[in-house]
């Protein structure tokens, strides 16, 4: 039960932060990426603000256990593989195209009209298709 409540609370903070920060405004997100147009630096402040508590939280994990039990994530992998790069290229293209990424797409579901719902539905379909596409990719690479 504690895990559920903490997850709900974390999600609420995340959603509220996305809403207040302006990151559900697609024009501000595209403005950050549009460096050859009218550049909008807001996203840098959002990222900076988010990194502070997170960096502190990672520090606090040392020598402790999660409050609701279990264990902390293992240290990050260090290898940069094809999946990481190819997936990030596809994600970045879609992010630039509509100005929405998964977090803000969820946070704005209630106030982003049919457009937000259509984007979310397409994103969900993409997430469902990804494991299969990923296996094809691996096979193609193995056969190459």
């Amino acid at each position: 039960m504690l895990r559920i409540l903490l997850a709900l609370f974390a999600g609420g903070l995340f959603g509220t932060g996305l809403m207040f920060s302006g990151m559900t405004d697609t024009a501000k997100v595209q403005g950050w990426l549009d460096i050859f147009g009218i550049w909008d630096p807001t996203l840098a402040f959002v990222m900076g603000g988010a990194l502070l508590p997170m960096a502190l939280a990672w520090r606090l994990t040392q020598g402790r256990r999660p409050a609701a039990g279990g264990s902390f994530p293992a240290p990050p992998h260090t290898e940069l593989d094809r999946r990481l790069v190819l997936g990030s290229v596809l994600f970045g293209a879609g992010w630039g195209l509509a100005g929405l990424c998964p977090g803000p797409a969820m946070a704005s579901l209630s106030y982003n009209g049919w457009q937000g719902m259509l984007f979310f539905a397409a994103m969900a379909c993409g997430m469902l298709a990804a494991p299969r596409l990923s296996r094809h990719l691996d096979r193609a690479v193995a056969n190459a």
Binding site: G17, G22, F36, A50
Partner: protein, 142 residues
């Protein structure tokens, strides 16, 4: 607006606090695409309840804020259905293949100085910058 950066910084702090609660409380990395994607494709079946609770908080709290204040932020989202579908598919496929998005690789990865998080963030930002440069500045279609 001049105050945009203050809202950005304040909202960013809340985002980071959310990630800190999820990490220190549940021992989990707050990645929006991983939490949602794992629920959809069944790979996160073992902890589906906390995924649903997290997503519930993400969706419902902004809804309740908008409802109680009578004001929702302007999203200025495109009404081009083809762009929305194409972008949604790319974001869904890309984040799952790369195993993370702006929250997981960006916020949570960079803050622990993960090489993969830093590299993924650099790549998806560059891809986004290139998309805007070509489709908005050169072709003028978005």
């Amino acid at each position: 607006m001049e105050a945009d950066w203050i809202w950005g910084l304040g909202g960013g702090l809340l985002i980071g606090l959310g990630g800190a609660v999820f990490l220190l409380g549940n021992g989990r990395i707050m990645g929006a695409s991983g939490i949602l994607g794992g629920l959809l494709d069944g790979s996160g079946r073992s902890n589906a309840a906390e995924r649903i609770a997290f997503i519930g908080g993400v969706v419902l709290v902004p809804f309740l804020i908008a409802l109680s204040t009578g004001h929702a932020p302007d999203t200025r989202v495109t009404s081009n259905a083809a762009v929305l579908i194409g972008a949604g598919l790319l974001v869904g496929i890309g984040t799952r293949i790369a195993n993370g998005c702006t929250s997981g690789h960006g916020v949570c990865g960079i803050s622990r100085l993960s090489l993969r998080g830093i590299a993924a963030t650099a790549v998806f930002m560059l891809a986004g910058i290139l998309t805007l440069a070509v489709l908005r500045q050169i072709l003028g279609v978005i």
